[in-house]
């Protein structure tokens, strides 16, 4: 068989017909360019719960800090009181010794 010019050009057209890419091709491309604003967002209820959870966590944090501060101040006062008592006891002890002399 000879490939005369006309037949060959027709064969080229037949061989080079357009083909479809994979079925998921278009969806893959579209998904990649979807702006963030158009992506599915969490529901309003979920967002409300998340906000409440964040607020509760913050309140717990603040409460914890306040309680710790109170505890720390109490400990400090206790130590100062113990020191004052020790100094007083030592002073009384010295006074007692001098009175005996």
């Amino acid at each position: 068989m000879n490939f005369d010019e006309m037949n060959f050009e027709q064969e080229l057209k037949n061989a080079l017909t357009r083909k479809e890419p994979a079925k998921w091709f278009a969806e893959r491309v579209i998904r990649q360019v979807e702006p963030l604003g158009q992506r599915p967002r969490p529901s309003a209820r979920l967002r409300q719960w998340a906000s409440l959870a964040v607020a509760a966590s913050l309140m717990c944090g603040v409460f914890g800090v306040v309680r710790y501060e109170e505890y720390r101040k109490g400990q400090q006062a206790k130590q100062q009181l113990m020191l004052a008592l020790r100094i007083t006891a030592r002073t009384l002890d010295n006074v007692g010794k001098k009175l005996k002399e």
Partner: protein, 177 residues
């Protein structure tokens, strides 16, 4: 000109998703016929559409859009081919030859034509794809590839002669060098 995040097409163009669905066969087929590699053709076609999305605001009309897509895919294919120095993943010598002569519209012949194209230089191969897949005339091909019309005509003529001779040698049972 690259734009940050243009999400809308100009008034005369359909939405981006419709553009992809409408033109995917054209863009993908240029890659497939040029490279003979499905996954690479799909990857390059995807790059072309992502590039289009970034440049949507610059597209003025449906004709401009089609030309833009053709040109972008053409360039990407030739660049990819040059980078990878890949002529064709399937060598003609590795293909079993049918014992009977091919008939017109024979799928074997279509396959042989595709493989014979793989042996053409990049630019000649792309001209054949644009001429016979996209049915562009030499003037349009010249504009797309930024070469003189005379070069397109002579290159196409030479490419077809080479392919015909190659296929004729296969028909005659000779080595398809």
């Amino acid at each position: 000109m690259l734009l940050a995040v243009p999400s809308k097409t100009s008034a005369s163009l359909p939405p981006f998703a419709d553009i992809v669905r409408q033109h995917q066969a054209m863009v993908y087929s240029i890659g497939w016929h040029f490279l003979r590699d499905r996954s690479t053709a799909e990857d390059l076609a995807q790059d072309v559409f992502l590039g289009l999305h970034r440049n949507l605001a610059a597209i003025e009309s449906p004709v401009h859009l089609t030309n833009w897509l053709r040109q972008a895919m053409t360039r990407r294919c030739i660049d990819w081919s040059r980078r990878s120095a890949q002529k064709s993943r399937i060598s003609l010598e590795s293909v079993h030859e049918p014992s009977e002569p091919a008939r017109v519209n024979d799928p074997f012949l279509s396959g042989q034509i595709g493989r014979a194209m793989g042996h053409l230089p990049e630019r000649s191969r792309m001209m054949v794809v644009l001429r016979y897949q996209e049915d562009l005339d030499p003037n349009e091909i010249a504009e797309l590839l930024a070469v003189p019309v005379g070069t397109v005509k002579s290159t196409l003529h030479r490419a077809l002669a080479v392919m015909r001779a190659r296929l004729q040698r296969i028909r005659n049972g000779a080595s398809p060098k």
